[in-house]
Symmetry: C2
Subunit: 337 residues, 2 copies
């Protein structure tokens, strides 16, 4: 195994000098530097990470935590965010340790290994995540970033989707194609993202004067259960008991929308002629479904990349005031609208 010593010997310099060029720090003459670099290359020397970490007291890892169910679920949403982070991490030599936390998480007993053993320099939390965990990280002064989630009343470093405008634009497109009675179906209403999507929905209707008395009562179906196809099916089946059927349904996300499509088809209504449906997220299934689902595309890789970059900034400068970076979306019109 070739070490920094071998390089130093061969280059006739001290290991300090080699270390300096390795980290390009301090002063070292261009000639020596180049000579050393060549030798490093020739011998295919790679600094041993564990030694380096011991000396620098950094771990070189960052943690990625998601709620267990989110990772077991049908869709790749959070895996894509992970992938975005991994791509970004490749350039800065960080490794990403992925773990899940249980629903009934308790920091006393269920702390992820990498937190327990101090094996990460920072953490990204994606999606809905136990508040006790966030508080724990905050108390421990562990740098962290929330992705696609926020805790009401608290300001943390976070990367968020521009849910409000995404919803606003999507519903506006429905309006512009002539829809008048636009319904909303959603689950997990306690989730800030969903709340924002609902706000976008509501405000665009208001601005086009499409909210009559009782509209919200009749045409919105909100639950606080985890979003799922079932929520979509159930929501639609209730909506379809109205005497005046909605002519479009904006769903809080694609999973819900897929359920909605299923239920509408089961009731023998035509999509999009009778009822148009629009989702949110652009999960891969959306493009393969029959009919193909119109939706708001969330750039998941970008979300991961930005989370990584923000976390890096926070690690480098821990006393930075908390900031939020908004990632904008794109409306994708397909067959369902």
């Amino acid at each position: 195994m070739v070490t920094i010593k071998d390089i130093a010997k061969k280059a006739n310099v001290s290991i300090s000098t080699v270390s300096l060029v390795l980290n390009n720090k301090g002063y070292v003459s261009p000639e020596t530097s180049e000579r050393i670099l060549n030798i490093i290359n020739d011998l295919n020397y790679k600094p041993l990470h564990s030694a380096r970490k011991l000396a620098t007291r950094k771990t070189g890892n960052i943690g990625y935590i998601i709620w267990e169910n989110h990772f077991s679920e049908v869709e790749m949403f959070y895996s894509q965010i992970f992938l975005g982070m991994e791509y970004a991490a490749r350039e800065s030599d960080y490794y990403i340790l992925l773990t899940t936390v249980k629903d009934d998480f308790d920091p006393k007993t269920d702390l992820p290994r990498f937190l327990k053993y101090n094996d990460v320099d920072g953490v990204v939390l994606a999606g809905r995540v136990p508040h006790s965990l966030v508080e724990y990280l905050d108390k421990q002064r562990m740098p962290f970033v929330l992705v696609d989630y926020g805790i009401p009343g608290k300001i943390y470093n976070s990367v968020l989707i521009d849910n409000y405008n995404g919803a606003f634009n999507a519903v506006e497109s429905l309006i512009q194609s002539g829809r008048k009675r636009i319904a909303f179906v959603g689950g997990t209403f306690s989730h800030p993202s969903i709340k924002e999507r609902f706000r976008g929905y509501k405000e665009v209707l208001e601005s086009y004067n499409l909210i009559s008395d009782g509209h919200l009562k009749k045409y919105t179906h909100l639950e606080d259960a985890e979003t799922s196809r079932e929520i979509g099916e159930k929501g639609v089946s209730i909506l379809l008991t109205e005497k005046l059927l909605p002519d479009a349904i904006f769903c809080c996300n694609d999973t819900t929308a897929l359920g909605a499509l299923t239920e509408i088809q089961r009731k023998k209504l035509k999509i999009p002629q009778d009822i148009a449906v629009v989702g949110f997220d652009d999960i891969p299934t959306a493009a393969f479904n029959l009919p193909k689902l119109s939706t708001v595309r969330v750039p998941k890789l970008l979300l991961g990349k930005e989370a990584f970059k923000l976390l890096n900034d926070v690690i480098d400068n821990p006393r930075l005031p908390a900031q939020t970076r908004l990632i904008s979306t794109e409306f994708i019109k397909r067959e369902s609208s």
Copy 2:
């Protein structure tokens, strides 16, 4: 930060002794041991991994490599395998580093970071994976395990699905429910798993004497493109040009089967009355589709767990002759058959 020195001082022993109890090695009296353990607990001491790794020359990491497209895809198959590994790893203090490799992978330039920098003690490769990578690992004497993939003509450590029996049983169930003309639709025919599924399909038909002259020509549709819904749709649309329609279709996996369902519905045929469909994998979508897809369940978490265990064995004993562990499947009958 509390180190082994602090423990030693407080316990009035040398750090060697503390280290010994930490790794329960050598001789240390029960009394001292307990005293030390208590202090460790009181001070909440955790050995610093980088220091430990430096001393032991182990990395404490194992790599998980999948083909890029497999991780970007619709289904969570490989993420679930990862999760199974992660669960298993929790007990033995390994971290798992996930990375993807590109389709046109070249070991000279595209080597995953953790291989380039020697940051893993072993590697799990899941699904179809560049042969050049496998050869590279073999040459480097890096312990590795293949999951759900094999390279024809080579014997490597691997954890495989019992594809043959899975297919055999699934098709047998179709036969027992009275189906006579059972078709096969598949992609990626170069993949050993798919070959095995096909073999199971063929042999059960033979054993029930259901393969007439020309059956395979008429009723099997094999492509060597990556499996996808499109493959399923296309395969079915060709099958449905036969004068005597098949009364059941066994698909090489669920993704393909979902495409098949779509195409059958588009042609206004009834499932399962006119045609039954059975998939393979039991991806989450299978249970949510309309109709719900009958399929062969592959225990993905278990697959990951076994891969991890086997890799561990190989790391501990590198000269073990290569072995293959077969994971058996379960037929899940739902609405489509």
